[in-house]
């Protein structure tokens, strides 16, 4: 199946990025994790924001788990 266009949402060096098909094709194999391919840049950016919000929430939950319980 040939994918000729689209916007690629990837994770590289612990950062989310949205790339064009052309820029994606230039990446070193195994230097990234491909999340999803979207038809428009808007959809890809929207998904990236959602994933970042989820990552922040995960981190928040982790920190809260480690925090000592508040004194009454």
């Amino acid at each position: 199946m040939e994918i000729k266009s689209g916007w690629y949402l990837i994770e590289q060096d612990q950062l989310h990025r949205v790339l064009t098909h052309e820029d994606f094709a230039k990446l070193e194999p195994d230097s990234y994790v491909l999340h999803q391919v979207f038809e428009t840049q808007r959809e890809a950016l929207h998904e990236m924001s959602r994933l970042i919000r989820l990552a922040i929430k995960d981190l928040n939950d982790e920190v809260n788990k480690m925090a000592p319980p508040r004194a009454p």
């Binding site: 199946m1 040939e2 994918i3 000729k4 266009s5 689209g6 690629y8 994606f24 491909l34 999340h35 999803q36 391919v37 979207f38 038809e39 959809e43 959602r50 994933l51 989820l54």
Partner: protein, 313 residues
């Protein structure tokens, strides 16, 4: 790429079908899923198979989904469509309506039949379909039932159909969960017509026999691993029993073990929802139901372990 005039090759993913809140097909999510799989090296997609909840979608919904996918840039030649219904007319109509879209082909399975079903009746069913759509030059694939029953395709019916309609059928697809059934079909029919399996655990065995084509449901989640399995015919290790075992085989077995004993569609949808971090993927059309909370938690824990133990996606 799938090439016109050449039989099925490579990894074809039996798509899960994402649903909206009101249980209609979520076309944008389906399109994104397919584009993502395409970027990960699959050859094509199979729509409305058992894992795509095919029985839950009528002809109009199936045709609309194909059109929407093509409108989002997926080529018709990269799509195989399940067109099985309990009646002849819906199957014939769907093939005719989809014909101008130039799909790679159409998959036929025996209709559900009661105790009065006979081999002659089954032969007549497929014979009628071929007579109606064969002259259009469409590529047809004959598939066994997912749960083999008395009205399933058997060697006698298959032989008669292949004798009468040589050239109309491009391949046989064994959907049984029985590896020896697959091997029986390979032995009986392979010289005459390609035999393909949609059982992920058979992929490597068939690849070692030179059959580098597979329909895979696990590839919704493991496209890279399954693509390697389909193409490979060498393995790195040999088991005590002398069977060749590779790292990919082990990863596949581990994955298979994760969902063993669970209903396949809800389990795969749950894992897809986890993978995309998108709860919309959990939805299934009744009478299927999502996994219960306890099973979800167990699967989530096991899947995390699986991911941490090796990257094979």
């Amino acid at each position: 790429m799938a090439t016109a005039g050449v039989g099925l090759q490579g990894l074809w993913v039996e798509l899960l079908t994402p649903l909206t809140e009101d249980l209609f097909i979520h076309h944008p999510k389906l399109s994104t899923h397919v584009q993502t799989l395409g970027a990960k090296g699959i050859q094509g997609v199979v729509m409305f198979s058992h894992v795509g909840e095919g029985d839950s979608f009528n002809a109009a919904e199936r045709l609309d989904a194909v059109k929407q996918l093509m409108a989002h840039g997926v080529a018709g030649k990269d799509i195989l469509l399940h067109v099985a219904f309990a009646n002849l007319t819906d199957t014939v109509k769907l093939i005719r309506d989809a014909h101008e879209l130039g799909l790679h082909g159409y998959i036929l399975t025996p209709p559900p039949a009661g105790p009065e079903a006979t081999d002659q009746g089954l032969f007549n069913f497929f014979d009628h379909i071929v007579q109606k759509v064969g002259p259009m030059g469409v590529k047809l694939y004959l598939a066994s039932q997912t749960n083999a029953g008395p009205a399933d395709l058997n060697p006698r019916v298959l032989s008669e159909l292949l004798d009468k309609h040589a050239g109309a059928f491009q391949g046989l697809i064994d959907q049984s969960h029985n590896a020896s059934h697959t091997m029986d079909w390979v032995r009986s029919f392979l010289p005459k017509i390609p035999v393909i399996s949609n059982q992920d655990m058979n992929t490597h065995v068939l690849a070692n026999l030179g059959i580098h084509a597979s329909l895979s449901s696990y590839a919704n989640l493991l496209p890279a691993l399954m693509a390697r399995m389909v193409l490979s015919n060498a393995a790195q290790k040999v088991s005590v029993a002398g069977n060749k075992i590779g790292t990919d085989d082990q990863r596949l077995e581990e994955f298979d073990h994760l969902i063993q004993g669970m209903p396949e569609v809800p389990a795969l949808k749950y894992l897809t929802a986890t993978h995309y971090r998108d709860a919309d993927w959990l939805r299934v059309r009744p009478p299927l139901a999502a996994l219960n909370t306890q099973t979800q938690e167990k699967l989530n824990k096991d899947f995390k372990k699986y991911i941490q133990s090796g990257e094979a996606r």
